[in-house]
């Protein structure tokens, strides 16, 4: 009779568990704002210790809570941006692949243009053009990331178009838009989903970068990038925890979602049609 029970999680379950944990951060921005984030000047610049695992900042605010709030905000922004990019990419991808011809040629040209510009430059330009801030960050990330997904979706669309059931639908007199909605879309959604999950950590990282440069979220919305920008000033005075710990947390979240995205990509493969009749 053993008194200890071990929870045996296999790799998949661990990954999912971690992701869910990270997603719960989405709520921290709302919930934790009720915690005191008021300055407590008595405990300024405390190094990491038991009561403040991430230390405190120049106003005595607990860094762990600040980091969690920041991540929550960044996650939300990243999610919105990734979502917009995915929707746009899917629509363009299907629209481009479904008929071919001039529309396809134009859209492919557009995708190529976007993808040939250096990422960071594009992000900065777009954010600046819209006036920075939350709007700017979301717009910049979405607008610079949709082409990659659009390409993948376009390829999938072209492939699905060749399948017998699509040709059969044409033989039943169905219009291209009917086929796009009823046949292509369901077959393309898994890849779109994978694309979204992979896009999301990208979006996070870019948003943090933009905010760090001052072109993303404004300073009063404490996203991680803003946090890091503020903390940079204090590195020289040896307060390493102000930058390192939030930075590592951001990195960890990004890696977890990136890993999930790759696992999903592996699971769905590049062909979502399985031949179950070979099983018998």
């Amino acid at each position: 009779m053993s008194y200890t029970t071990t929870i045996n999680l296999n790799k998949q379950q661990t990954g999912l568990f971690l992701c869910l944990g990270c997603l719960s951060l989405l709520f921290t921005y709302g919930v934790l704002s009720y915690h005191s984030q008021a300055p407590e000047l008595a405990s300024r610049f405390l190094a990491p210790c038991l009561s403040h695992p991430f230390g405190t900042d120049w106003l005595g605010r607990d860094m762990l809570i600040r980091t969690m709030r920041g991540l929550g905000l960044s996650l939300r922004t990243g999610l919105i941006a990734a979502f917009i990019a995915t929707i746009a990419g899917t629509i363009v991808g299907i629209g481009s692949g479904i008929r071919g011809g001039r529309l396809d040629a134009f859209l492919t040209w557009l995708m190529d243009i976007f993808m040939s510009l250096p990422h960071i430059v594009l992000l900065i330009l777009l954010s600046f053009a819209v006036g920075g801030g939350l709007k700017g960050a979301v717009f910049a990330v979405a607008a610079s990331h949709w082409p990659r997904l659009a390409r993948v979706i376009r390829m999938e669309t072209l492939q699905v178009r060749q399948s017998q059931f699509v040709r059969q639908a044409e033989h039943f007199g169905k219009s291209p838009s009917w086929i796009a909605y009823k046949h292509i879309l369901p077959n393309v959604i898994p890849q779109a989903g994978v694309g979204f999950v992979l896009l999301f950590p990208h979006a996070l990282a870019h948003e943090a970068g933009l905010s760090f440069l001052g072109l993303g979220l404004p300073p009063h919305l404490p996203a991680v990038g803003v946090l890091l920008a503020d903390s940079m000033r204090h590195l020289a005075t040896g307060r390493w925890w102000l930058a390192l710990l939030p930075g590592l947390s951001l990195l960890a979240v990004i890696l977890i979602f990136d890993h999930l995205g790759h696992r999903l990509q592996h699971h769905f493969g590049h062909s979502t049609r399985e031949d179950n009749h070979a099983a018998h």
Partner: protein
Amino acid sequence: MLQSNNISFRYGANHPWIVKNGCFNLKKGSIVGMYGHSGTGKTTFSRILSGYLQPCEGTITCDRQPFPHSGFRPVQLVFQNPVEAMNPYWTMEQILTEASPLDDNILDLLEIPKKWLARRPSELSGGELQRIALARVFNRNIHYIIADEITANLDAISQASIWKVFSEYARSENIGVLAISHDLALLEKVCDQTIHFSEISPSPGDS
């Protein structure tokens, strides 16, 4: 009548002719069997006759009109592997209603129980899917059906019962059927007349 007039086809200028000057007529209400060696072009011919491939030379006329290239085609093809012509994400109900609204008589005729309607292609066996594929083309707007080895992967009982229903339906609804198979005994039992592919297209296939 579905007519192919001097159809010729090959995959490219450097490829051999797969079909050359193929002439074939299919009357409504008749069931014609076509047999021949594997790989000689029967499948290619069936694709051309049903509109999935364009012939390089020659024309196809359907009821004295040129073969329609848009809209609901009156000539449909049933494949050897029914799974290929079904969207893996769709339910049987969606697959059946794609062509026309559900007809209970047709479902009864092909012994398709209601419980299959909610299933996906991966959940049914080959024989069951072939019945659905046939139900889809048993339709007032379809006048010619080309059956390309439709029972080649099925056991003897499914084969016999499917062909019985198919031939009865074809005769009663005056549908022209071209049945392609390598099983001569099957064709002789089911068809009014049987021809060898070389009689249509006297070119050497690869055998």
